[in-house]
C-alpha cells in the first residue's frame, strides 16, 4: 500500500522536479507498481494536473504524455494504424481493462521493468523519451540509463515508415510474459526487441538482408541475447521461445505485406 506523509499535486514540472530531488519523495503515476513497495515515503508527487494525459500528432511524430493511461494508447486509432495494431497487441494482455485504465505509459517506461511489454514494443520504434532535465533521449538508450530523479514528460514516436508486429508468450493469459518480441522492418534494416528474458527488453538491428533466411535470422538473433531462469520458465526455454517468436513476428509482417516486406 502507498504510504506517505504528504501528497502534493505539482503545479509545474519545475515544482515536481524540485520535490523529486529529495530521496524520500517519489512521483506517482498509476500506482500499479509503486503501491507494492513496502516503504514509507515523504512526499508523493502527483503530476496528473500538468496536462500530460494527451496524445498529440503531427506529420512527423506522435507525442504521448507521460500520464496517458495504457488503455488510451491501446484504443488510439492513429497510433494503431501506424503500428498495424502492434501497440494494441502489446498492451491487451496486461492484467485487465481496469488496470490499463489506471496505469500510465510514463510509469511503465520509466520503470524499465524486465517484464514490460510496453518497453519491448516502444523500443523497436523510432521512439524517444522526453526528460524534463535530461532532454530527449532515444528509447533504447533510456532503457539502459540508471534510475535517477529526472521526470519523464512524454514519449515521442517518430513516424518513420516501419512495418511493425508484436508477439508475447505467456503461461496464462494475463500473466507476465515468458518472452516478448517486437519487430520493426524499415527500408533497409530490421530491428528486433526481446524482453522478459526476464531482463528488460533490448534490441538487435541488422541489415534487411539478414532476415532473408528467416530461420537462420531468428536463431542467430535469439542466441545473441542472454536469458535467465525464474518461476515462469528456464533460460533455455526462453531462448527457444524467443527464436520462435522472432520467426512468427516477422511472419506476421510478411503475411500482411507479402513480398513487399523487403521491397518497401
Amino acid at each position: 500500500m502507498l504510504r506517505c506523509n504528504d501528497y502534493i499535486f505539482a503545479e509545474s514540472l519545475e515544482e515536481a522536479y524540485e520535490l523529486n530531488q529529495k530521496k524520500n519523495n517519489v512521483i506517482v503515476a498509476g500506482n500499479g507498481w509503486l503501491k507494492l513497495r513496502k516503504r514509507q515515503w515523504g512526499t508523493v508527487i502527483d503530476i496528473s494536473r500538468l496536462c500530460l494525459d494527451k496524445i498529440t500528432e503531427n506529420d512527423e511524430e506522435f507525442r504521448i504524455g507521460a500520464m496517458v493511461c495504457l488503455s488510451d494508447i491501446e484504443n488510439h486509432k492513429e497510433l494503431n494504424d501506424y503500428t498495424d495494431g502492434a501497440v494494441k497487441e502489446s498492451l491487451r494482455h496486461i492484467v485487465g481493462t481496469q488496470f490499463r485504465n489506471c496505469v500510465t505509459l510514463g510509469g511503465s517506461i520509466f520503470g524499465r521493468f524486465g517484464f514490460s511489454d510496453v518497453l519491448s514494443m516502444f523500443i523497436v520504434m523510432d521512439s524517444y523519451v522526453e526528460l524534463y532535465k535530461g532532454g530527449i533521449v532515444p528509447m533504447h538508450e533510456f532503457a539502459k540509463m540508471p534510475y535517477d530523479d529526472d521526470i519523464l514528460v512524454s514519449i515521442i514516436v517518430k513516424k518513420k515508415p516501419l512495418r511493425l508486429a508484436y508477439s508475447s508468450f505467456r503461461n496464462q493469459s494475463t500473466d507476465f510474459p515468458v518472452v516478448t518480441c517486437a519487430v520493426a522492418i524499415g527500408e533497409d534494416i530490421i530491428t528486433t526487441a526481446i524482453g522478459a528474458r526476464p531482463a528488460k527488453a533490448d534490441i538487435r538491428t541488422d541489415g534487411i538482408d539478414a532476415c532473408r533466411d528467416l530461420k537462420d535470422y531468428a536463431k542467430k538473433t535469439a542466441e545473441s541475447f542472454d536469458y535467465e531462469s525464474n518461476m515462469r520458465a528456464s533460460a533455455e526455454y526462453r531462448r527457444h521461445i524467443a527464436e520462435v517468436l522472432i520467426k512468427r513476428t516477422v511472419e506476421k509482417i510478411e503475411v500482411r505485406y507479402g513480398n513487399q516486406i523487403m521491397d518497401k
Binding site: F169, N171, Q172, H240
Partner: protein
C-alpha cells in the same frame, strides 16, 4: 402423487439478488467499526527457536492495545482442522510458540486502534532467533534426524499411525486379494511415479473473522467459515475455556473450497477479545492467504497397475507420500482419498494394495481443498490407465469400459461398499458422444505445426464421511403457515440454503418461497458437522426429509385435534389437513395461527442424520486440446463433462458446480503451483505470482448429467461439490500424450515440460 414443484428445478438461489446488488452481508461488512485491528508478526525462518522477543518499544506506539507472544498464550495443543471430535488430525499447535516451523509461522499478535499503528508496532518488535536446520524436502522427511514436532505434549487422538518422533503424521496399509498372484497373471504392467503439486483454493474472500463479547459476556466470533460448530470447539480448546463461553456465527462467505474447513485464523481475534474484552478483527491479506494458509497436500504417488492381454485389470498397487507441511491439519485424512477413491474406479480388479505415509516438513501446513486427496490419486490412476491401454494397444475409452466399476459392484478399496447407484458406464458413453471420441481419438495434425487431440478421465468421490458426519435441521410452522428452516450447514456460495429449502418445499408440498432459511449460529442452529466432504445435500438433505416427515405428523395430529377427529383419519396436502372419511378440512393457515393461541402444541420438529455409507458420485470428463508443437503450448478447445450425482436437485447450481470445479481443475492441470524458494519461503505469494485461470484461459465447457438413483440419499441424490475438480489434470495429460506422445507425470503441465518432452523424443 403430483410432480414435484421444487426438486430438479433450476430455482434461483435465495440470496442471489442480495449478492448481485452488493449488499453488505459478509464478515468484514458486518464488523463493528470499533474493532481493534489485529496483525501477526511472522517468522522469516522455516525452522527456528525464539531466543528472545522484546515488545516493549512496540507497545509504546500510540494506539497499540496489546502485543502477545508465546509467553502469553495457554499451553493447550489443538488442531485447526475442522473435523468431528476426536479429530484425526494431531493436536500439534499452540496459538503462538517458541518454536517456529515455517516461513510465515506467527510469532506475535499485535492489536491496535488502527492499521498504521499496528504496522508501526510490527516493525518495532525485536526478535532474536536461534535458526535451526529445516526439513524442506518431503522425500527426506520420514525418520529424518531433524524433527518438526519434537515436543512431548504433541498428541494424536486417533490411531492413524502418527509418530512425531519420526516426522510421521499418518501411516496406513490396506489391501484386498492376493496382489502377487494377480500381478503374476498380468501381461502388461505400468509402474510409474506421479507428482502433484500443492495448490491454493484461492477463494475471492480471504480468511477473516471478528470477535466481540455478547450481552452475556460470552465470546462471539463471526467468521468466514465452512465449519461453524468446529470453530467453537477449536477456539474453546485453544483458549482453554468452556465451550459454554463461545458462540460462532457464519455470515455469507466469499467462497471456501475447503480452505475454510480449517480454522486458519479464528483463534487470534478470539484470543485478543478474550484478553482485552474489546471487539477485534483480523482480515488476512491475499499474501497471508497465499503463504500462511491451508493449501492442497503435495503428493508423490508410486503406482503399479497390471492387466491381461485381453485388457482386464487384475491388480493395483499404490504408495502415496503426502506432504502435510508444518502442521497436520487434514494430513491423516486427505491421503486416504488418493487411494480409496481412485482405486475404486476399477473395483473389478482381483487385488489391490494401498500404503501411505504423511510427513511433516518445514513449509506452510496443508489443509482441505476440494477433492481432498482424490485429485492427486485420480491424476495418477487415470494417467496410468491410459499408459496401460497404450501398452495393450487398446483405445483408452474402450479399456475403461471393460474395467470400470458398475452398479451393484462391491468396491473393496472403497471400504467394501457396494455401488448401489452407478451410472459411470452411461457417463462414459455420453461423454464419448459429446466430444466425438470415435472420430477424434487420438489426434489430428492440423498442418500448421498444431496438433489437436482428445483425452479423457473418470472420477469418483464420496457423498459424506460415513459413520461420522452429522447433519441436523429444525423446521417450524409460523403465522399463516410459512416455515422456518434452521440449518447448521454452511452455505459458502454453493447454494445449500436454497437446495435444502427445495427439499423442504417438496416434502411440505409448498412453494420454495414459503420456506425461510436461517444459518448458521452455534447458539440457535441445529448441529451440523459442516459443509465439507461433499456432504450437505446427501446428509443434511436427509435430515430435512426426516424433519419434514416429523413435522407433517405434528401438523396432522394438531389438525385432527382441531377437527375433533382421529389422527388416523387425516392427511396433509400442503395447504390443508383433511379428513379421509368426509370433506371436512382445516387450512394450514388456520392450524398455524391456532397453534399460537392457547395451544400446547409446538409445531416444530428437528431430526438428525448420519450415514453408514458414502455413496460415490461418478463422472467422466473429456477434453479436446491443440498443441503448438514448436512451443509446447497447450490450448484448450473444448471440455465435456457428464456427472452422475444421483438425482439432480437444482440443475443450475449443479451445472455451475461442475463448470467451476472444471475451471479449478484446469488451473491445477496447467499452471497453478505453490513455489518455494531455497529458504522454504513461498514465492507464489500473490495473484501476481500464483496464476489462477482468467476467463480467457477457460474453453467452452459443456455439462450433462446421467442420473442414477441413490436409495440412501434424499430424493435419490448423491453429492457434486468435489468430484467435479478431478478430471482435468489426467484428461489433459492424456490428451497431451495422444497429441505428441509426451507423458507428463508431474503437474502442472506447463508448455515448457511439453516442449522438452517433444524435444527429447526427436
Amino acid at each position: 402423487m403430483s410432480e414435484s414443484k421444487a426438486i430438479n428445478k433450476p430455482i434461483r438461489k435465495k440470496d442471489a439478488m442480495t449478492l448481485v446488488t452488493g449488499k453488505p452481508v459478509y464478515c468484514d461488512d458486518l464488523a463493528p467499526k470499533d474493532c481493534l485491528i489485529i496483525k501477526l508478526l511472522r517468522s522469516p525462518h522455516p525452522h527456528a527457536l525464539i531466543d528472545d522477543i522484546n515488545t516493549s518499544i512496540a507497545e509504546k506506539v500510540p494506539g497499540i492495545e496489546a502485543i502477545y507472544t508465546y509467553k502469553d498464550v495457554p499451553n493447550n495443543r489443538f488442531t485447526n482442522a475442522g473435523q468431528t471430535y476426536p479429530e484425526a488430525s494431531p493436536y500439534d499447535r499452540l496459538i503462538l510458540e517458541k518454536r517456529v516451523r515455517y516461513v510465515g509461522d506467527p510469532v506475535a499478535i499485535v492489536a491496535g486502534e488502527n492499521e498504521k499503528a499496528v504496522d508501526k508496532a510490527l516493525k518495532l518488535i525485536k526478535v532474536k532467533y536461534e535458526v535451526l536446520e529445516p526439513v524442506l524436502d518431503f522425500r527426506q522427511a520420514k525418520d529424518n534426524e531433524i524433527l518438526v514436532h519434537p515436543e512431548d505434549n504433541w498428541k494424536s487422538l486417533c490411531p492413524v499411525g502418527a509418530d512425531n518422533k519420526r516426522n510421521l503424521c499418518a501411516h496406513e496399509v490396506s489391501e484386498n486379494g492376493d496382489l502377487e498372484k494377480a500381478f503374476s497373471q498380468c501381461d502388461a504392467i505400468v509402474e510409474e511415479t506421479y507428482h502433484t503439486q500443492a495448490n491454493q483454493q484461492a477463494m475471492m474472500e480471504t480468511f477473516r473473522a471478528y470477535a466481540t463479547k455478547d450481552v452475556y459476556n460470552r465470546l462471539t466470533i463471526v467468521s468466514a467459515t465452512q465449519v461453524t460448530f468446529h470453530v467453537r470447539r477449536i477456539v474453546a480448546t485453544a483458549l482453554g475455556i468452556p465451550k459454554t463461553d463461545v458462540r460462532v456465527i457464519k455470515p455469507r462467505i466469499g467462497g471456501g473450497f475447503g480452505a475454510k474447513q480449517t480454522a486458519v485464523m479464528e483463534v487470534y481475534p478470539a484470543f485478543v477479545t478474550y484478553m482485552t474484552g474489546k471487539n477485534s478483527k483480523l482480515v488476512y491479506t491475499r499474501e497471508e492467504t497465499q503463504t500462511a494458509s491451508s493449501p492442497r497436500h503435495e503428493m508423490e504417488i508410486k503406482l503399479k497397475i497390471g492387466a491381461t492381454k485381453d485388457g482386464i485389470i487384475k491388480a493395483i498397487d499404490m504408495y502415496t507420500l503426502s506432504n502435510t507441511g508444518a502442521y497436520g491439519e487434514h494430513g491423516p485424512t486427505t491421503v486416504g482419498l488418493s487411494g480409496h477413491k481412485a482405486i475404486a474406479l476399477y473395483s473389478r480388479a482381483d487385488a489391490y494394495r494401498f500404503v501411505y505415509d504423511v510427513v511433516y516438513t518445514n513449509i506452510m501446513a496443508a489443509g482441505a481443498y476440494r477433492g481432498y486427496g482424490a485429485p492427486q490419486g485420480i491424476f495418477a490412476v487415470e494417467s496410468a490407465i491410459d499408459e496401460l491401454a497404450h501398452k495393450l494397444d487398446i483405445d483408452p475409452a474402450r479399456f475403461r469400459e471393460m474395467n470400470i466399476t458398475k452398479e451393484g459392484d462391491v468396491m473393496p478399496a472403497y471400504y467394501g461398499e457396494t455401488a448401489n447407484s452407478c451410472a459411470l458406464d452411461r457417463c462414459l458413453d455420453r461423454v464419448k458422444e459429446m466430444i466425438d471420441w470415435d472420430n477424434k481419438y487420438p489426434a489430428r495434425d492440423m498442418g500448421n505445426g498444431k496438433i489437436r487431440s482428445v483425452g479423457m478421465a473418470l472420477a469418483l468421490q464420496g457423498s459424506c464421511i460415513s459413520n461420522l458426519d452429522v447433519g441436523s435441521v429444525a423446521l417450524k410452522v409460523n403465522d399463516d403457515g410459512f416455515y422456518s428452516l434452521m440449518i447448521g450447514a454452511s452455505d459458502m456460495g454453493t447454494g445449500c440454503d436454497t437446495i435444502l429449502a427445495q427439499m423442504a418445499a417438496d416434502c411440505m408440498c409448498c412453494d420454495v418461497d414459503n420456506i425461510v432459511v436461517q444459518g448458521v449460529d452455534t447458539d440457535t442452529s441445529p448441529y451440523d458437522s459442516g459443509s465439507y466432504a461433499s456432504s450437505t445435500t446427501y446428509i443434511t438433505g436427509m435430515a430435512v426429509v426426516k424433519t419434514c416427515a416429523a413435522l407433517t405428523e405434528k401438523i396432522k395430529k394438531y389438525g385432527a385435534l382441531l377437527m375433533g377427529c382421529d389422527e388416523k383419519d387425516v392427511d396433509f396436502n400442503g395447504k390443508e389437513v383433511y379428513r379421509i372419511s368426509n370433506d371436512e378440512k382445516i387450512s394450514l393457515k388456520d392450524i398455524a395461527n391456532s397453534s399460537m393461541c392457547n395451544s400446547s402444541n409446538a409445531l416444530y420438529a428437528s431430526e438428525g442424520h448420519a450415514s453408514p455409507v458414502s455413496p460415490p458420485p461418478f463422472m467422466a470428463g473429456a477434453v479436446e486440446i491443440e498443441i503448438d508443437t514448436e512451443t509446447g503450448k497447450v490450448e484448450l478447445i473444448d471440455y465435456k463433462a457428464v456427472v452422475d450425482c444421483g438425482t439432480v436437485i437444482n440443475p443450475n447450481l449443479a451445472r455451475v458446480q461442475t463448470e467451476g470445479g472444471i475451471g479449478q481443475g484446469i488451473g491445477m492441470a496447467l499452471y497453478e503451483d505453490i513455489n518455494y524458494n531455497d529458504n522454504g519461503g513461498t514465492r507464489s505469494n500473490s495473484f501476481m505470482q500464483y496464476k489462477i485461470p482468467t476467463r480467457q484461459d477457460i474453453c467452452p465447457v459443456e455439462v450433462d448429467f446421467e442420473s442414477s438413483y441413490e436409495p440412501t440419499g434424499p430424493f435419490g441424490a448423491k453429492s457434486i461439490g468435489e468430484i467435479v475438480i478431478n478430471t482435468p489434470p489426467p484428461a489433459i495429460a492424456n490428451a497431451v500424450y495422444n497429441a505428441v506422445g509426451v507423458r507428463i507425470r508431474e503437474l502442472p503441465i506447463t508448455s515448457e515440460k511439453v516442449y522438452r518432452g517433444i524435444k527429447d523424443e526427436d
